[in-house]
């Protein structure tokens, strides 16, 4: 590459040395930043093993006496199992419905080039941007007698999750060659069988992405239950935390334990499904 090999080699060696030092420096800076970034979560984890007395004073991070009973005490609360059931029910049903409705609709919208088909697609895509109008939605739910019901909440969650799912699925199905459907049609397959046996198996990666992303969103959501459910027996875990704090404001150890219980399912999912999560975010966001 260079004509003067000796000075070229010296320069390369220096550059490598500088790079090596720069790398170490960068690693140290990142490690310090990561520690501060992780600090709130560390405080929660350690705080959940403190006694009430110790947790009340904010000045020590490490528990002096490890108290393992906090989790049991939180879990024995009278309403937590009910809230857990509600959270699981709402999350699973709304994700299942979103995926089924979006998949079949996207299949037809990706394939047909009619005005109705593209009009419907445009309407869905507009929902990626538009904010939910809370008060008119409440009135609509009241009109349908679905206000303050889990069904009503699930349907609103589905409606607000559909735009992204339709966007993701339609883009993906457009990449599946049409000839596959047509040859199956020639072989006597009907639409339902084509969808179930040919399209659906190919959709697995986007279905996984959608399921993980909406599970995180729905499980953690606070605003929809807050607006659309006022009966505390229907509350989800995040809503119950909110209520719990006003009751146990002096027992930070119990509050932290509760926060860990609320976060655990999604964090575990994230740690084990990190690959899907990250690749899903990347494909969904960058293609858009």
């Amino acid at each position: 590459m260079t004509t003067d090999t000796s000075s070229g080699a010296a320069r390369n060696g220096l550059a490598r040395l500088a790079k090596g030092k720069g790398k170490l420096l960068l690693e140290i800076v990142l490690a310090v930043a990561a520690f501060f970034y992780f600090f709130p979560i560390l405080m929660m984890i350690l705080g959940s093993f403190k006694s009430s007395m110790e947790a009340a004073s904010f000045n020590k991070l490490w528990p002096e006496v490890w108290e393992f009973g906090n989790f049991r005490q939180v879990l024995s609360g009278d309403r937590i199992l009910q809230a857990l059931r509600n959270s699981v029910f709402i999350s699973f049903l709304s994700i299942f419905l979103t995926i089924v409705l979006a998949a079949i609709a996207s299949f037809v919208m990706a394939r047909r080039k009619s005005g109705f088909s593209s009009g419907a697609y445009f309407l869905f895509i507009a929902g990626l941007v538009a904010p939910l109008m809370y008060i008119p939605t409440i009135k609509t739910l009241q009109f349908l007698s679905l206000m303050n019901t889990l069904t009503g909440l699930i349907l609103v969650v589905v409606a607000t999750n559909l735009p992204f799912a339709v966007f993701l699925f339609t883009g993906f199905i457009k990449g599946i060659p049409r000839e596959l459907d047509e040859s199956a049609f020639v072989d006597g397959f009907g639409t339902t069988r084509i969808f179930l046996h040919i399209i659906l198996p190919l959709l697995t990666p986007v279905v996984t992405t959608q399921a993980i992303l909406s599970l995180v969103g729905v499980w953690n959501d606070l605003s929809m239950p807050l607006f659309f459910l006022n009966d505390s027996s229907k509350w989800t875990l995040p809503m119950l935390v909110y209520n719990f704090i006003s009751q146990y404001v002096r027992n930070w150890n119990l509050v932290y334990a509760f926060l860990i219980i609320v976060s655990l399912p999604v964090v575990v999912l994230f740690i084990f499904g990190q690959k899907h999560f990250v690749s899903g975010l990347m494909s969904g966001a960058v293609k858009g």
């Binding site: 960068l26 990142l30 990561a34 970034y37 709130p40 405080m43 929660m44 904010f58 991070l61 409705l101 979006a102 079949i104 609709a105 299949f107 037809v108 047909r112 109705f116 419907a120 309407l123 869905f124 941007v129 538009a130 904010p131 109008m133 809370y134 008060i135 008119p136 939605t137 409440i138 009135k139 609509t140 589905v158 409606a159 559909l162 049609f185 639409t191 084509i194 995180v216 499980w219 953690n220 959501d221 606070l222 605003s223 807050l226 607006f227 995040p238 935390v241 926060l259 609320v262 976060s263 964090v267 999912l269 994230f270 740690i271 990190q274 990250v278 975010l281 990347m282 966001a285 960058v286």
Partner: protein, 289 residues
């Protein structure tokens, strides 16, 4: 025609019906209700023209909440994207423990706002860890009543949201960086470009798509702010940290539905205008690799 037989419209109907009834209809209704005195205390609804909007403009608290919403959207978008970009560049270089770092910086993204809210209420307490830390390292003059001081509170809420959201934008920037073919950078280095020149002249223009997605997504999410404020301050002290959605929630509770819907409509118009403007701006800047 084969299209009709093979791809029947009734496959679209279930999704379309749920979406029309529970998303599009309420949005359309909001255009009507925003111009009425609709409230909890009277059975009849009267058209009042622009009354609600005149009320919003002439009420300093409501105008403050609009200003706060814009401030929050801008501050958090800058914070998340600048930090996210720095972290993405660092994590795409040849360093060790990349996976661990990525996990730590992304982890807050999967936490609920209620969790984030409680943790930072404790951390930012006047005697909490942050103020203690500042005292220990000799920065005592920086100590604040983070969630109580009217001049600081909106920046505190923005800071917490940046902490939670940066990891998401970092991942998208990483995707943009990794999509650039390696030889582009090598060619620039041979031509004598330093790291900064390489970043601004080569990498940044080639990852404009990731930049535009990130900016649009962070602005939209920023305008929709509600839970962040609700869990940290509930709009207080007074109206110092209230935003459009928290006012809409409060108006709903007070039974002032027409005015609350009008506030929601202002948000709708802001978001539509901003995303249209940013999308058309970035459309011109994108480069195909």
């Amino acid at each position: 025609m084969k299209g009709k037989q093979l791809y029947p419209y009734f496959f679209i109907y279930p999704a379309l019906i749920v979406y029309l009834v529970l998303f599009i209809c309420p949005t359309l209704f909001s255009f009507v209700y925003s111009f009425t005195d609709w409230n909890a205390y009277r059975d009849t609804i009267r058209f009042t023209g622009l009354d609600n909007f005149v009320k919003i403009v002439s009420n300093s608290d409501l105008m403050l909440s609009i200003g706060n919403t814009v401030l929050f959207a801008v501050v958090t978008s800058i914070g998340k994207n600048v930090l996210g970009m720095l972290l993405a560049v660092a994590l795409c270089s040849r360093i060790g423990m990349k996976r661990l770092f990525r996990t730590v910086f992304f982890l807050p993204t999967v936490l609920s706002f209620i969790v984030v809210g409680v943790l930072f209420t404790a951390l930012l307490h006047p005697e909490g860890f942050l103020n203690q830390f500042l005292g220990h390292v000799g920065l005592g003059w920086l100590q604040q009543e983070w969630l109580v001081d009217r001049n600081v509170v909106m920046f505190t809420v923005s800071f917490v949201d940046v902490w939670k959201g940066t990891g998401f934008h970092m991942i998208i920037f990483m995707a943009g960086l990794l999509a650039i073919p390696r030889d582009y950078g090598e060619a620039a280095q041979i031509d004598g470009a330093n790291a900064l020149q390489e970043f601004f002249r080569i990498k940044l223009p080639l990852m404009m798509q990731a930049v535009s997605v990130n900016i649009v997504l962070s602005l939209i999410a920023g305008f929709k702010v509600f839970e962040q404020v609700f869990v940290l301050t509930n709009g207080g002290p007074g109206y110092a940290s209230s935003v459009l959605n928290s006012i809409a929630f409060q108006m709903f509770g007070d039974g002032r539905w027409g005015l609350g819907t009008a506030m929601n409509l202002v948000l709708f118009l802001l978001i539509t205008a901003i995303s249209f403007l940013t999308l058309t701006y970035f459309k011109r800047k994108e480069v195909d690799i």
